[in-house]
Amino acid sequence: MEKQDYLELYRQMVVIRRLEEKSAELYQQGKIGGFLHLYIGQEAVSTGLISTRRPEDRVITAYRDHGVAINCGIPAREVMAELLGKATGVAGGRGGSMHMADVNRNFWGGHAIVGAHLPIAAGLAIGDQYQETGGVTICMFGDGATNIGYFHEAINLSKVWHLPVLWVCENNLYGMGTAVNRASAVSSIQQKARGFGIPHSKVDGMDLIKVREAAQNAIDLVRGGNGPYFLEISTYRFRGHSMGDPERYRKPDEVQKWQENDPICIYGEYLVNTSMASRDELNEIETQAEEEIKEAVEFAEQSPEPAPDSLFDHIYVE
C-alpha cells in the first residue's frame, strides 16, 4: 500500500464514526425509524478486512452493516439516504439500516436474521467455485451467530466442499446483551472452526494494521485453493446493541476501558509514529469527513420519498 492508501483507510474509519454519530442523532430526532445498530468501536475490523479484498471478492455481513457499506465503496450519502428511507438510498428505501447492499460493488448485504446469511455466503462461494471466478467470499458475522444452527450447517458445508470463503467472526463479547461465556460452550470462538478441520486464527480488532495482516494472510490462503478459513476478530462496540439498549449487562468502566483503545486513535497514532501522516493531515481528513457527512445528511433530507406507486415493484422479476 502507498501512503495515500493508508490515509484512505483512516478516512473510511472517520467517515464511519461520523456517519454513526450523526445517525444516532437523527434516530433520536425521529428521522430514522426501525432498528439502528451502530458500528462505533468496530471500525478497524471491516476497514482492515475489506482493504484486503479484490474487486472479484464478495462481501456479506449481518445487520450492523453501515460501516461495511462504506468500506465497500458506497457513498455516505447513499447510506444516509437509505437510513432516512429515501428513494436515493442504496436499497431505494426498501431495506433500511439492516439491509444495505450494492451488487455492483460486490457487497451482498446487510442481513438481519442472525446467522442466516452464512448458508447464503456458502452459496456465493459455490457460485465462484462453479464458475471459477477466482473470487473469495468474505462473510462477517457476530459471536452470537456462532451458536445458531445455520452457522454449523454453513461452516460444515464449506469444509466438505472446499469452498473459497473467509469466515470472519467479529467477537464484540456480547450477542445483544448476553455475554459470550453465557451463550457459547467455548469462549474462544475460533475453537469452533477446529471442530470442522478449518484453519483459524484470532486477531486484535482494535488495531487496523493487525487486522489487515491477519486478513491478508487468510484471504491469500483461501484464494490459493486451500478451502475455507476462519478468522476471529476481537472487538468491542462502544454503544449499545441498538438504540433501544438499556445496557444493564455491562458496567460503564468496562466500556470506558475499551474506549481508551479507540481503533481510530490507535491507527492515527500508527500513521503519525511511522511518519506516514502528520497530525495536520489527519485533522484535514477529519474535517473533510465531517463535511462529507454534513453533505450526506443534506442529500438524504432533500431526496424524494419512494413513490407510492412503486410499492409493488420488485416483488418478482417476471
Binding site: 451482498w108 442481513h111 452464512l118 447464503i120 459455490i126 464458475q131 445455520y150 418478482y316
Partner: protein
C-alpha cells in the same frame, strides 16, 4: 404423444434443462450417487458429474441457503428438499430470504432458483413425514408456488420454473410419481400462474390441484354415471393464483366444491372460496363446499391414516350438497 409417468416427466424436464444450460445444477440430499430417493435423478450423476449434481449433507438450511447464494451469482440451481416436511428446517431461507431478497434490495438481487420438494400423505410415514403444507408457502409474496397434478404439467411447469428468474417452490406429490399421462414431445413449457380447466362440465365446478386432481377426476367419473357433469379447474400454481378460469366456470355452473389434501383450516380452499365470494358471490346458487384432510396429524396405522385423507366419495358427497 408419449404416455409417461410423472417421475419420467420431471426427470426429462431436469435433464433437458441441464443439457441446454450449463448454469443449471442440482443440489440436495441423495440426488447424486443414490439417484434421488424417488429415483427422479437416476443416471444424472454419471452423466453430468459431481459438479452439477451435488450431494449435500443432511442440512436443509445449507441446501436452500447455498442455492440462494449460488443463484445470486447467476447460476440456476434446482435445490431438492427430500420431502416438504424437511422444508421446515429451511423455512428461514425459503420464506425469509428467497421470498424477500429481490424486493428488499430494490431489485438488485435476482434469484433464478427452484426448490423441488415432495408432499402428501397416504404412505404410512407417520405425522412428521406425511404433510401437505402447501398453503403455508403460498402465503408469502415473493415466492412462486407450483404444484402439478399431471405428467404434462409436471414437465412443462418444471421447465418454466427452471427458466424463471424468480424463486419457485415446486411441490410434487409422493403418490403421483407412477401416474401416467400424455406429454408432448420436445421443448414443452407451461406458464407459471395459469389455472386450467382439466375436464369440462356444466353442473358443478370442482377446484383442485396436485394429487387431488386425480381424486377429483375419479369423483367426476362417478358423478358422470349419475348424469352430473363436473367441470374440474386445476390450479397448478398456488401463487400467483389465477382465478380467471374458476370465475368463468362459476358463471356457468353456479356451484363450487374445492378439493385439497391439506388441512381445511387456513388452507388453499379457504383462500379460493373467499375469492369466489368476493368476486362472484352473485353467481353462486349454493354455499361453497370444501373437501380437505381431517384436522389430525396423520397416524401411522393404515386404516386410521386413510380415514383422514380425502377420497372420491367425499367429493361426490360434497357435490351433492351443492347441487
Amino acid at each position: 404423444m408419449a404416455k409417461i409417468t410423472v417421475r419420467e416427466a420431471i426427470s426429462q424436464a431436469l435433464w433437458e434443462e441441464m443439457e441446454a444450460d450449463p448454469k443449471v445444477f442440482i443440489i440436495g440430499e441423495e440426488v447424486g450417487v443414490w439417484g434421488g430417493t424417488y429415483a427422479v435423478t437416476k443416471g444424472f450423476y454419471d452423466h453430468f458429474g459431481p459438479k452439477r449434481v451435488k450431494d449435500t449433507p443432511i442440512a436443509e438450511a445449507a441446501i436452500v441457503g447455498g442455492a440462494i447464494g449460488a443463484a445470486l451469482t447467476g447460476l440456476r440451481p434446482v435445490a431438492e428438499l427430500m420431502t416438504i416436511n424437511f422444508a421446515f428446517s429451511a423455512m428461514e431461507h425459503i420464506v425469509n430470504e428467497a421470498a424477500k431478497l429481490h424486493y428488499m434490495f430494490n431489485g438488485q438481487f435476482v434469484l433464478p432458483l427452484v426448490i423441488r420438494t415432495v408432499g402428501g400423505g397416504g404412505r404410512q410415514l407417520g405425522a412428521t413425514h406425511s404433510q401437505t403444507p402447501d398453503a403455508i408457502f403460498a402465503h408469502f409474496p415473493g415466492l412462486k408456488v407450483v404444484a402439478p397434478g399431471s405428467a404434462a404439467d409436471a414437465k412443462g411447469l418444471l421447465k418454466a420454473a427452471i427458466r424463471s428468474d424468480d424463486p419457485v417452490m415446486f411441490i410434487e406429490h409422493a403418490t403421483l410419481y407412477q401416474l401416467r399421462g400424455e406429454v408432448p414431445e420436445g421443448d414443452y413449457l407451461i406458464p407459471i400462474g395459469k389455472s386450467v380447466i382439466q375436464r369440462p362440465g356444466k353442473h358443478v365446478t370442482i377446484v383442485t390441484y396436485s394429487k387431488m386432481l386425480d381424486i377429483s377426476q375419479k369423483a367426476a367419473d362417478q358423478l358422470a354415471a349419475d348424469g352430473v357433469e363436473a367441470e374440474i379447474v386445476d390450479l397448478r400454481t398456488l401463487r400467483p393464483l389465477d382465478m380467471e378460469p374458476i370465475l368463468e366456470s362459476v358463471k356457468k355452473t353456479n356451484r363450487v366444491v374445492i378439493v385439497e389434501e391439506g388441512w381445511k383450516s387456513f388452507g388453499v380452499g379457504a383462500e379460493v372460496a373467499s375469492r369466489i365470494y368476493e368476486e362472484a358471490f352473485d353467481d353462486l346458487d349454493a354455499p361453497i363446499q370444501r373437501v380437505a384432510q381431517l384436522e389430525v396429524p396423520l397416524p401411522y396405522n393404515q386404516n386410521l391414516e386413510q380415514l383422514a385423507l380425502p377420497k372420491p366419495e367425499w367429493v361426490v358427497r360434497a357435490v351433492h350438497e351443492v347441487l
